[in-house]
């Protein structure tokens, strides 16, 4: 069965520090992978997606993610966090050719000034 694990429920970083949010997936074939962000009281917004090709993917708001097949991981990174990045981040896997998404449980990011 397809599943997504986000091991960190809550992460706190200082503004300007680097960030890495972890995501591991379980899927029998080549997955489509996604990161969404949810700000308080708002819907989810797509940050970036990986379908194939270059394993380092650039997204919006300065985020990037790296697909590592050997580790079944798709970690999200940002070199310098801004206070406005405080939000909940969801990793998701999408079975190819279905337009469906299976979400992880999310990581809440808190940013201190």
């Amino acid at each position: 069965a397809q599943s997504v694990t986000q091991p960190d429920i809550h992460i706190t970083v200082s503004e300007g520090a680097s960030l890495e949010l972890r995501c591991n997936y379980s899927y029998g074939a080549t997955p489509y992978l996604f990161w969404y962000v949810q700000s308080p009281g708002q819907g989810l917004q797509l940050l970036l997606k990986y379908f194939s090709g270059d394993t380092l993917v650039q997204g919006i708001k300065g985020f990037e993610a790296e697909f590592k097949r050997s580790q079944s991981s798709f970690n999200l990174r940002k070199p310098s966090v801004h206070w406005s990045d405080a939000a909940e981040y969801f990793c998701a896997v999408g079975p190819p050719d279905t337009d469906k998404l299976i979400f992880g449980t999310g990581t809440r990011l808190q940013v201190f000034p």
């Binding site: 819907g43 989810l44 797509l46 999408g94 998404l101 979400f103 992880g104 999310g106």
Partner: protein, 115 residues
């Protein structure tokens, strides 16, 4: 471009009452999704429509939940009767069909509290 609209934003009901949520997708988006997001969990797909037809409702608790999408635009999700465990945020999303872009556009959600 207007986003996905949902109403109401908040709803508090007692158990065994009924409730309905409304969603208006982005114009031209034929695919519409309803998700349930329980506190501390990721969104879980309840039902997916393409135009006014159901693509997937395998996770919809059909004994109490129902959804419709008349005329392939707006959609309503109903719970009757509600249980305590239905307390959650109900998210609506829409996307262009057939592109497999997976770029789903989400509304702000309806936060339901069942007491």
């Amino acid at each position: 471009e207007a986003g996905v609209a949902q109403s109401p934003r908040y709803k508090i009901i007692e158990k065994r009452q009924s409730v309905a949520f409304w969603c208006n997708p982005i114009s031209g988006h034929a695919t519409l999704y309803w998700y349930q997001q329980i506190l501390g969990q990721g969104p879980k797909l309840l039902i997916q429509f393409q135009n006014n037809g159901v693509v997937d409702d395998s996770q919809l608790p059909k004994d109490r939940f129902s959804a419709e999408r008349l005329k392939g635009v707006d959609s309503t999700l109903k719970i009757q009767p509600a249980k305590l465990e239905d307390s959650a945020v109900y998210l609506c999303a829409s996307s262009l069909p057939g592109t497999y872009s997976y770029e789903q556009y989400f509304g702000p959600g309806t936060r339901l509290t069942v007491t």
